[in-house]
């Protein structure tokens, strides 16, 4: 299908049809149930489904829209996540210049990703910004707690800008041609990451007995962790038609996404426990903040990118 000169592969259209079909039926059922009896539970579910609509539309833009639009959206989401982390980060008034520099790094990083200036992309934040931000803090002249800010601001920049900017590289990665294109690579990553969360939750609810991180997330169990990773590996094989990967490569990718998704989730959970927050924000009704949704994909994205790059032999 072609819209305004931009063609969308059939595989992507199928995936979108399934996603929006499911959402549409969910919304229809909730609407009918609420006509009969409106309860607070239904209202809560309605809010959540409504949020899923917004997320699904964002995903649709990323995988089926023109690449520049997808890249801009990913960059903006990256900005929102960073804003959220700085808002809860308990930083000092003296850190304002450093924070501002971190925001300015977002357009630069995504520009480098968009043009596939790979080397500059790799060192801009880990090297250049890791010097610029501490220097700005030093110039400000307030030394009390400066070490804390010198670590937190670049770390937030790494987590919320550097990591997701790998998704934009996927638009430009010269892999061998495959029918679903760059959108296929992206939806493969997004679906594996999202379903890994669901699988780990579901297996944990069904079989969970042995806690894996009792101090961070009391709900996470070994059973959920192992079951989730294995199921995600299987899903990787099923969805491998979206990528140029062979079945066993897709399986390994699923495994890695499952493992790193769990790690990302745990890292953000631990930060929230430290700050005594339940959610990072209330941006998305029923879900919490942007970081509550993005916690896994921030970590899975770079791992996924380098795996694809390796398998493609680039």
């Amino acid at each position: 299908m072609t819209i305004a000169g931009h063609s969308i592969p059939e595989e992507i259209l199928w995936i979108l049809a399934v996603i929006f079909g499911v959402l549409l039926s969910c919304s229809a059922i909730i609407y009918l149930l609420r006509q009969r009896r409106d309860t607070s539970l239904l209202k809560e579910i309605h809010l959540r489904v409504w949020s899923w609509w917004r997320i699904a539309i964002g995903v649709a833009v990323v995988i089926a829209g023109p690449p520049w639009m997808g890249a801009l959206l990913i960059a903006y989401i990256s900005f929102v996540a960073m804003r959220e982390m700085f808002s809860i980060g308990q930083l000092r008034g003296a850190d304002r210049a450093g924070i501002f520099a971190a925001y300015l790094a977002i357009p630069v990083q995504y520009f480098l990703a968009w043009h596939f200036y790979f080397e500059q992309f790799l060192y801009f934040i880990p090297m250049a910004m890791f010097i610029v931000i501490p220097v700005l803090l030093v110039l400000n002249g307030r030394m009390n707690q400066i070490g804390r800010s010198m670590s937190i601001i670049p770390a937030i920049l790494m987590l919320t800008a550097y990591m997701p900017s790998h998704m934009v590289l996927l638009y430009r990665l010269p892999v061998q041609p495959h029918p679903a294109g760059a959108g296929g690579l992206l939806i493969f990553l997004i679906m594996l990451t999202a379903f890994n969360d669901v699988f780990q939750f579901t297996w944990g609810k069904l079989l969970g007995k042995h806690k894996i991180l009792p101090y961070v997330s009391p709900n996470k169990t070994w059973e959920g962790f192992v079951g989730g990773i294995l199921t995600t590996s299987c899903l990787g094989m099923i969805l491998s038609f979206l990528t140029p990967l062979l079945w066993w490569q897709a399986c390994i990718t699923g495994f890695v996404v499952g493992l790193t998704g769990f790690l990302g989730d745990s890292i953000i959970s631990a930060i929230k426990r430290d700050l005594r927050l339940k959610d990072t924000d209330d941006l998305i009704p029923g879900h919490g903040g942007a970081m509550d949704r993005l916690d896994s994909i921030l970590i899975t994205a770079p791992f996924y990118f380098y795996l694809i790059k390796y398998f493609a032999g680039i």
Binding site: R83, F86, S87, R92, R96, Y103, R276
Partner: protein
Amino acid sequence: MKDLLLYLFYQLIVRPWLTLIIGVRFSNRQVFDNVRQFIVVANHNSHFDMVSIMAALPWRKLKNTRGVAAADYFGKTSFSARLMNFFFHAILIERHRKEGAPSAIEILDGHLKAGKSLVLFPEGTRGQAGVIADFKKGVAILLRDNPGIPFIPVYLDGFGRVLPKDKWLIIPLVCKVRFGEPVYPAGQDVDEILEKVRDAIFKLKDKDERDRNVFDYK
């Protein structure tokens, strides 16, 4: 015509900029639907405070709402005074009254009698983020003398980090504008009314879950 332009400016430019870039969340904006005339009372940390409140007003209210600002700060040049007048319908008040000039209370009372609504910061100046300073009595006197007019408490959270006093660099950070329900303070005692105003704002502050996590602003 000028008011329509101003409204469109707030709705199409200021509000998207505030919500999408700066990270402002408005809650309970619909309080304005049920009041005709009111005094908005808010805590004050930043130049963003007035902008955010104005951007939340519906069209009919924006026309008749006037922001109260300090003449010694915003009236320094006639250009800035005109800008204040255009964007906030500002009433500029001398914080240090000259001999023989009408008092601030008299001026504001006149505007209330003329059917205008006001946006007031009873702290009198921008304070430190997360700290609410003592309130000046003026707002209580106005409420006592105009018993038919309610006050709408507003708690502004986070603006003192986005743009604090004496800084020029604007930094996007999540902040909130919480509107409370309108209150008609009965009674003749100025201190009692002032206490009610303070209480209403502090209640909104407590409601803000984020407050458990106040920015260490030193």
